[in-house]
Every structure is written in structure tokens, then in C-alpha cells.
Homo-oligomer: 363 residues x 2
Amino acid sequence: MNFTRRDFNRFAGLAAVSQFLPAVQAQTPDRRVGWCVVALGRISMDHFMPAMKTSQTGKIVALVSGHRDKAEKQAAIYGVPASAIYNYENMDTIRDNKEIDAVYIALPNSMHAEYTIRSAKAGKHVLCEKPMATSVADSKAMIETCKTANKKLMIAYRCQYDPTHLKAIELIRSGALGQVQAIESAFGFNCGAGEWRLDRKMAGGGPLMDVGIYCLNASRYLTGEEPGNIYANSSVIDHDGRFDTVEENVGWTMKFPSGIVASCNTTYGASMTGSFRVHGAKGMLQVLPAFNYDGMHLTAEIGRDQKIDELSTARDPIEFNWQSDHFADCIWNNKMPKTPGEEGLRDMELMSEIYKSAGLAAL
Amino acid sequence: MNFTRRDFNRFAGLAAVSQFLPAVQAQTPDRRVGWCVVALGRISMDHFMPAMKTSQTGKIVALVSGHRDKAEKQAAIYGVPASAIYNYENMDTIRDNKEIDAVYIALPNSMHAEYTIRSAKAGKHVLCEKPMATSVADSKAMIETCKTANKKLMIAYRCQYDPTHLKAIELIRSGALGQVQAIESAFGFNCGAGEWRLDRKMAGGGPLMDVGIYCLNASRYLTGEEPGNIYANSSVIDHDGRFDTVEENVGWTMKFPSGIVASCNTTYGASMTGSFRVHGAKGMLQVLPAFNYDGMHLTAEIGRDQKIDELSTARDPIEFNWQSDHFADCIWNNKMPKTPGEEGLRDMELMSEIYKSAGLAAL
């Protein structure tokens, strides 16, 4: 097969959805990737699994849930046999299910490590949601275990497979914006009480771990560099019980080796549509909203005359297929995922630095 | 007179230009403020002086310039007598010109202190452009001298008198956005070679002093608080001679006593339209462009239903009259300016902290 990762990425970046899917289909081997979904929460039931209905590369073949009733309903929708419904106690027996090639981990953050490790030990490849874990040590253990088991580990950095983000990267790399000097990025929302993401034990941290990570990761893939000089501020303004264990706000600045300076903000206390702006010598590029499941809107002003205004054609839940298509390509062609465990680990280490700089506990 | 500063500010914030000017006129005493303009650069000749043609509160009565020819041309336009054209050597004799009430200092930054002090010692009130000086010590000397001379010192923080900025402040203070959690602000441009602003001796610093100061000042008047926890990064990317003495980029984060976190960026190396975004529990407010002389555009999304979209009615150069109208009110009614020397000093001290945090020399 001559369809390289480079081709795949270029294709994903340039092609519209309608052109893209048949092209991938043409490359698929006889059978699709069989996915086992671990945890039936919103991101699984409302996005990842519905997307798989239109996938040319994968299908849902097994479920892991603590709620048998809920699992049976979902199993009926996706044609999953009762024998392929697992719970958290017996999920290690997925090793005996040859239909399962890969596991999608969509548990609360604190459980990512355990279930990634159990999945790899059961002989399955793993696509794990971000943040990859709640500690740097756990992240390293996940990478090590997958390596030992000779299984692929990919972190679900969805945006790195999204055509709008790839277009932004392409515009930067092509030199269209001139030398990039600065990046601004923000993402947050006013988080309602009672969510697991407000419990440090489950989430590992507050908005930084959940949504600020998008800004951090975007700053890295937009520049193609690794940041240093990380300085952060954190605060809790609303003493209403929501922020007893996690932070409410984080703002930070960082500097890349080329000299590009990035400023990021995240919050669980305010309306903060995900966005980034890239400021170059020749022009400015913005994506707003940037991190949604659809409706990504790229605008750019280059020089005096050139304006770009592109509304993403990505649709929720199809947006979720780009990353699983990529993982299928990696599995079939024995490639390193574009966003491997090491990519998730780097963000974990950087978020740990951000927390430390803000006077909070390291990860 | 019952026209208080509070009324004045409220009026400036709510009234359209057409309503506003006659109202101020009704309050004016018999004669207008006589302005002496020091330095005939772009901001004087293209903005401040043309604005004065439509002013109801002031008129140009004297000029100070190193170029007699240039000064005579401008004098003819504004009806300034030849006897009221001064140079930098004899400008202290403005003390003998009773037509002059106030001096507008529009020199390169490094000369603000000397000419503010000479003006105050000549018995004139001073409106000085931002940044007020190139060192904290000079700023303190300016304040002290004006105090001793019993003359008013106001820093030309134009935006604090602009209706769009006042509307933003009003929306925040009214609680419409809910509790504010975070602010993003940026301002910069790709600065051509050969400008005095690229010479540290003249400018005192780079983009932070020139345009980043807008972001800093806006963060302060939008929150109504004084920031701490200032952490900054600075860089020079373009080694093309422009940045031999001043920085090219600065990004910084700061935290206000309430817990609001602000992230700011400034540059002389990239296209960076001045803007700020305020993120509150109930909604988000943006002004983009924010710091221009016209075309300020305020948008806000509050809750699910309320959208605000207001394009400023301010026009260049009339935009420049708001601040001189305010200064006239202060002179006539012996009031402290809303943006006195102490306001400028605070920014100088904070910019000094930003530079120190970035590893650069303090101011």
C-alpha cells in the first residue's frame, strides 16, 4: 500500500468530507476495525458511537458499562451481541473476543490509566480520551504498558484530525501569515454543579485538564514547537461549592524556542467560546469557534487584500470519524499515530508545570 | 455648577456625539481652553489639532516645534499668531502667554517628562500622551512638579473617554455579564524600520510601552481593580536591526484581587488588531477593533438570547475631543482628571514589573 501517513494527513486536510470518505474506503482491508467502547457517557453515546454509523473504517462490536440496561439499549442500536456487553469487573475477558481490535476509553479522567492498561494487556489497541490521565506517572505507565504489549496507544486529540485545524496549520506552515509572533487561545464554560469534572479525584484538575488542554495542544500543533517559560495564574472566585477541589480559572503565558509567545485562558466560571488567534508578520488568522464538534469558523486577513472566511463542513458526529479513521490506518499499516501516548504525556507534563507555576499541586 | 464629573462621565458614556457636544457647550465659561501643542508629529497634526476645529471647549493658541516652517503652516490653519510659535529653547516663555491654559505633550516618550515639567513650571496645565514617561522616577517627578505648581496633569488615555469603552465598563458594572472571570487583550502591529519607537532612548521600550499599554490599562479600567502576580515572556524573533534596543514581543498574565485573570499580548512584529474580550458567568463581551481612532466594534452575547452589536459612532479626529473636553471640565471646575498622573504612574510601575518578569530592564 502506498497510502502513507503524509498522504493521509494531507488528504484529511484538503478534502471535503464527501470526497474524503470514499478515498479512505478504497484503502480499507477486508474487515473494519472492531471497536469496544468503554463507558457510556455523553461523548460515547452522543458522538463517538453515532459517528461510527457512517464510518468506512470501523464498527462498534463491544461495550463496557456498569449499567447493563443502558448497555443493552445501545447494543441493540449498534448490533452488538449480548455476549459482547462487558462490565468493569469482567472487561479483561475482552481478550477472548477476536472481533475487538481497539478500545475507545471515554471514562472520567482518573480511570483512563487503569482501563488503558487493562485493554492493552487484553491485547487491544487503545484510543484514549484527553487528558490521557490524571498524573504524569500514570501517563508514562500507559505508554510503557502499550509498548510492552505491542499495542498502539493514541490520544483522542480530535482537533488534530479536523480539516479546519489542518487548514490553519497549513496556512501557517506555507508562510502565508509570515513569521508568527504570538498566539492567543481560550476555552472555557460556566460549569454546572454536580458534574464529575468538578471532583479532583475523578478529573485530576479543573478547566485546565478538561478544556484548557485544547489551547495548550493547539499552541503546540500550530507552532510545531514545544513551549517553555510557562508562567500561570489561577483563581477561585465563586465560593459556591463547585470549586472546593478544582480551580475555577487559569491563565498562562509560554514561549516557544523560535520566540513565539502564547497566552491562554481557561475557566469553569464563564462563557468562553473556544478560539485561537495567530498573529504573523503578514496577517492574522482566527478560528472561532475552534474546539466545537462542528461550526468551526476560520477567518484570516493577509496583507491588505486577502481575506479568508471558511465555515467548516464538519458535522457532529461525523467530526469524530477523522480520528478513528486515522487510528484504523495506523493499525492496518503499523504506523505510529499522529497523536500517540507521548503527545498526551507532553501535555500532562506541561499542565503539571502550569499548575506548579500557579501554586497548585503538580500532576 | 451642578455638572459633576460623575454626570460628565455618564453623559460621555451614553450620549451620541451630536447630543453630547451642545450639552458641554452649555457648561462652558466665557472662553475656551487655550491649547499649546508641543511637537508637530502625526498624532498632533492628523488627530489632536484637526479635532480641535470642532471642539466646543478648546482652541489651538500656540505651537512648539523644532521646525519653524512646519509650525508656520500649521499656525496658518489654526489662526495661531506668529508670536505664539515657540521652539524647544524658548518654550519656557509660554509663561508670558496668557492665552495658553494647557499644554498637549505629543513628543517621543523620552521627552514627556522634561516638557511636562517645563510646562507646569511655566504655569500651564498638562495633557501628556501615554506612556507618561520612560521611567518610574520621571513619572513621579512629573506628578510632584505639577502638584507643586498647582497645575493639573492628565495622561491622554483616550480610550477611557470613548463611549464604546464606557459602554463596556457599564455592561460589566451593571452585572449584565455576571461575575467576570477572565480578560484577554492584545494590541500590536508590524512596525517598519526607522521609527523613533524602535529606539529605546526615545521610546523607553518596545511595543509594551507603545501599544501593550492599551491592554494593560483596559484590563485595569474594565475590572476597576489593580493587578498583581504579573508574569511575562518577551522575545525577539526578527534579527533585522529593528529590535536591537527594544523587544519585539511581550505576553503576560496577571491576576486581580477579585480573582479575575487577564492575559495580554503585544508585538511590533505582527498584525494584531487591538481588542479585548471579557468573559463573565452570564456572557462574553468583545471590542474589536478596540483601540483605533474610530470603528470600535462592541459585540456581546449574554445568556442564550441577548446579543449586542454596536459599531462606534466616534469618528477620527472627533474621538480626540472627549479627553480634551474632560480636561476642560477639570480646569474650569477644579477637578482631578479621571486619568491623572497617578494613573500613568501605575501603568509605568506595572510595565516595569512586566519587563522585570520577562528578564528585561526595569523602567
